[in-house]
C-alpha cells in the first residue's frame, strides 16, 4: 500500500518535473552578454501593468519603432485597454491611412483607419522591409516580448546596450552595429533611442533609459494584453475552487463516514 503510494507520487512528480523543465527550454541563438535582470511590475504570477508606463511606451512605439516595425495582430481598438477612451482611440486611428478599396475608376484609394483596423504595416512586404533595413527585415512586434529569447530584460538591455565596439569588432555586413546583448553581439538596427527623442505628455523626463523601459513595458503588454485580467480572474477562480474543495471534502467525508 505505502509502496504503491510512493510510486504514484514519483510518477506525478516526474510528470511535473518534465513539464517545468520544458517551460525554459528555449535555446538562445548566437553568443551574447547575459542581460541584467530588471524589476518589472508585470513579472510573477500576480504581476500587473503600470498603464501610464504602457501609454508612454506606446508614444515611443508610435513615434520611433513603428517607422520600421509592424504590429500586425493589434487593432487600434485594442489600445483602449491601456486606459484610453474610445474617442482617443478613434483619433489615433484616424491619423493613419489604410488601403480603402478602389474608387469608381478602379484605382486603389486609402482612407483614415478606424478602431477595427489592424496596425498599418510600415512596409508593403518582407522583401521591401529587408531592402530598406540593411538586408534584415525588422521583426513584427506583436509577440516580440514573448518570442525574443531573454524576454523584456533582453529587449531593455539591447535598447540601452549600444556602446563603442571593442577594437577587434568588424561588422559582418553593411549597417550592422555592435551590441553586446544582441545575438552574436551584433544587430542590424541602429541605436533607435536617445535622450529627448520622444515627447511625453505626462511630463516624465524622456531619458534614453526611461524611453527604453517604457517601450519594453508596452511591448510586454502587447505580447500579453490580458495578463492582468488573467491574474485577477485566476485569483477569483482559485479562491472559489478552494472554498468548494473544502465543502466537497466535508461532504465526501460525511457520505463515507458509515463505510470505514
Amino acid at each position: 500500500m505505502r509502496g504503491g503510494m510512493r510510486l504514484r507520487l514519483g510518477f506525478l512528480l516526474g510528470l511535473l518535473a518534465s513539464l517545468a523543465d520544458i517551460s525554459h527550454a528555449m535555446a538562445q541563438a548566437g553568443p551574447h552578454d547575459r542581460p541584467p535582470h530588471q524589476v518589472w511590475s508585470f513579472e510573477g504570477p500576480l504581476g500587473r501593468f503600470d498603464l501610464s508606463a504602457v501609454q508612454r511606451g506606446y508614444a515611443v512605439y508610435a513615434q520611433v519603432c513603428s517607422a520600421c516595425h509592424g504590429m500586425k495582430s493589434m487593432t487600434y481598438g485594442d489600445l483602449a485597454a491601456m486606459g484610453l477612451t474610445m474617442e482617443q482611440v478613434s483619433r489615433i486611428a484616424a491619423t493613419q491611412q489604410v488601403p480603402g478599396g478602389v474608387d469608381a475608376q478602379g484605382d486603389p484609394v486609402t482612407r483614415a483607419a478606424t478602431p477595427a483596423d489592424h496596425f498599418r504595416d510600415p512596409f508593403a512586404n518582407p522583401e521591401a522591409a529587408a531592402a530598406a533595413n540593411n538586408g534584415v527585415a525588422p521583426p513584427d512586434q506583436s509577440r516580440l516580448a514573448l518570442v525574443y529569447p531573454g524576454g523584456p530584460d533582453r529587449i531593455y538591455a539591447v535598447l540601452t546596450g549600444y556602446r563603442e565596439p571593442p577594437a577587434a569588432y568588424r561588422p559582418s555586413h553593411a549597417g550592422a552595429v555592435y551590441n553586446p546583448y544582441a545575438s552574436g553581439r551584433e544587430i542590424a538596427m541602429p541605436p533607435p533611442l536617445r535622450d529627448g527623442q520622444v515627447v511625453y505628455t505626462d511630463g516624465t523626463p524622456a531619458t534614453t533609459a526611461q524611453e527604453a523601459r517604457d517601450v519594453t513595458t508596452f511591448l510586454a503588454w502587447v505580447a500579453q494584453p490580458h495578463l492582468e485580467a488573467r491574474h485577477r480572474l485566476g485569483m477569483q477562480v482559485v479562491l472559489y475552487l478552494l472554498f468548494l474543495a473544502v465543502l466537497v471534502f466535508l461532504l465526501k467525508r460525511r457520505v463515507w463516514s458509515d463505510v470505514h
Binding site: 506525478l12 500586425k72 509577440r143 518570442v147 485569483m235 468548494l244 463515507w256
Partner: protein
C-alpha cells in the same frame, strides 16, 4: 411530491407523470438510476480511480471550447495564424477559452497517462476486462492523433515544423511512406491542404473520441470496476452504490484537478504555451530546436534512440501497439501489483524508463542521452515481452484476501 402521503400505493400508481411516461418509452431514467445511482462499485477504490471521471469532464470541456475556437478559426495557411491571434486579442474572452483548450490538451494527456498506469499497475486489463482495456488503448491512439492535429492548427513555427517532422517520419516507411505522406499533407511540405485536412481530422476525431468513450464506459459497466486489491467483490459488503459514495469522491477529485488546471491556465500558461509557436509558420526558417509537446516526448525519445529512421518509427508505434497484447502477455491470475512483488518492481522501472525517454526526447538523444535512451527502449520492450510473461513464475504461495471488506478491516 404530491404522493408523499401515499407510500403504500402500488407501483402502477407511482408511474404517472412525464418522467414515468418517458421512461416507459425510452428507459433513460431507469438506466441512469441503474448505471449511475445504484450501480455497485468496489468500496476500496483509491484516488487513481478518479481519473476516469476527470477525463470525461475534460473531454467535454475540450469539445465545448473547441467548437468555440473552430467558429473563429480560419483553416488556411494565409489566415490561420491571424485568426488565432484575433481569438487571443479581439474576440471577447477568446484568450480564456483558448487557454483552457490548450491547457486542457496537456491535462487530458497527463490524466490519460495516469489512467493507463493505473490499469497496468492494478491489472485492470485482465479477464474479464480485456475489451475495456482495448477500447481504452484505441482512445489513447485517437487522442494522440487529435492532439497532434490540433497542435498544427495555430500555424506557428512549432506547428509547421512539427508537422514537417511527422511527415518525414511517415515518409520513412518503406514502400507506402512517400504516398502516405503525400496523402496526409496533400503536398511535399505542410501547407494549405494539410492544414485543412488536419482541421477536419481534429474535429472528426474529437467527436469520434466521445463516441468511443461511450463504448469504453459501456464495457466498464458490464464488468464493473477493478479495485486496488484486484479481487472481485465477494458480496454486497464489498461494494457501495455509485451515488452518493463515488459521486462525492469523484467530485472531490474533480475540484482538486480543476484547481491544478486553473493554476496553469491563470498563473503558469508558459508551462503549456510554447513561445516559439507565437511566431508565424515560416517554411524558409527552421527553428533551432524542434520539439514536440511534452506528452509526445517519450515516443520522440524512442524515435531518436533507435539508429534507423524506419526502425525508430516502428519502435515508437510499437511502444503503443505492444500495450494491446498485454492481457495475453501477462499469464498471472493475480491482478493487483500489490500482491506481485516482482511485477511491482518492474512497473516502477517502467515508469522511470518512460519519464527518462521523455528527457531523452528533449535532448534529441545526443551524447549520454543516446545510451540512456537505448537502455530505456530495451527495458520498455523487455518489460512487456519478457518480464511480464515471466513474472507469473515468481508468484508462488501468494494468498489473496477473501473479500474487500475483510481485507480492509485487516489491512490499512
Amino acid at each position: 411530491m404530491t404522493d408523499a402521503g401515499s407510500r403504500d400505493m402500488p407501483d402502477e400508481q407511482e408511474k404517472t407523470g412525464v418522467v414515468a411516461w418517458l421512461d416507459a418509452r425510452l428507459p433513460v431514467v431507469s438506466a441512469f438510476r441503474r448505471e449511475y445511482v445504484d450501480y455497485r462499485t468496489p468500496r476500496n477504490l483509491n484516488g487513481l480511480w478518479n481519473f476516469g471521471a476527470i477525463l470525461t469532464v475534460v473531454l467535454l470541456v475540450m469539445l465545448a471550447t473547441g467548437i468555440f475556437l473552430a467558429i473563429n478559426y480560419t483553416p488556411t495557411a494565409a489566415g490561420a495564424f491571424a485568426s488565432v491571434e484575433a481569438i487571443e486579442r479581439q474576440v471577447p474572452s477568446g484568450w480564456l477559452l483558448r487557454s483552457i483548450h490548450v491547457t486542457g490538451a496537456s491535462m487530458f494527456l497527463a490524466a490519460l497517462y495516469i489512467h493507463l498506469f493505473r490499469g497496468l499497475y492494478y491489472g485492470s486489463y485482465k479477464a474479464p476486462r480485456e475489451m475495456l482495456w482495448l477500447t481504452g488503448l484505441v482512445l489513447l491512439a485517437m487522442v494522440m492523433f487529435t492532439a497532434f492535429a490540433g497542435y498544427v492548427l495555430p500555424w506557428g513555427q512549432m506547428s509547421y515544423w512539427g508537422a514537417d517532422v511527422a511527415g518525414k517520419a511517415v515518409d520513412a516507411i518503406p514502400g507506402v511512406g512517400p504516398w502516405l505522406e503525400h496523402f496526409l499533407q496533400g503536398a511535399d511540405a505542410p501547407g494549405d491542404v494539410s492544414l485543412h485536412r488536419f482541421f477536419i481530422l481534429h474535429m472528426v476525431l474529437a467527436f469520434a473520441v466521445l463516441g468511443v468513450v461511450g463504448v469504453h464506459v459501456a464495457a466498464l459497466h458490464v464488468t464493473g470496476s477493478n479495485n486496488p486489491l484486484g479481487i472481485e467483490p465477494a458480496g454486497p459488503r464489498d461494494t457501495v452504490p455509485f451515488h452518493p459514495y463515488y459521486t462525492s469522491k469523484d467530485a472531490l477529485g474533480l475540484v482538486l484537478f480543476a484547481l491544478l488546471f486553473a493554476a496553469v491556465v491563470f498563473f503558469l500558461p508558459n508551462v503549456v504555451f510554447e513561445a516559439e509557436n507565437f511566431r508565424p509558420a515560416n517554411p524558409l526558417h527552421t527553428p533551432a530546436d524542434i520539439e514536440p509537446e511534452w506528452y509526445f516526448l517519450p515516443f520522440y525519445g524512442i524515435l531518436q534512440s533507435v539508429p534507423s529512421k524506419f526502425g525508430g518509427l516502428l519502435a515508437s508505434v510499437g511502444a503503443i501497439l505492444v500495450l494491446f497484447l498485454v492481457p495475453w502477455l501477462d499469464r498471472s491470475p493475480i491482478r493487483s501489483a500489490r500482491f506481485r512483488p516482482f511485477y511491482r518492481v518492474c512497473m516502477g522501472l517502467l515508469v522511470v524508463c518512460f519519464i527518462l525517454l521523455g528527457f531523452v526526447g528533449r535532448h534529441h538523444a545526443q551524447g549520454g542521452w543516446m545510451i540512456a535512451g537505448r537502455v530505456a527502449v530495451v527495458y520498455y520492450f523487455a518489460h512487456f515481452l519478457v518480464l511480464l510473461p515471466l513474472s507469473a513464475r515468481t508468484e508462488r504461495g501468494i494468498v489473496l484476501p477473501d473479500g474487500i471488506a475483510d481485507a480492509g478491516r485487516r489491512g490499512a
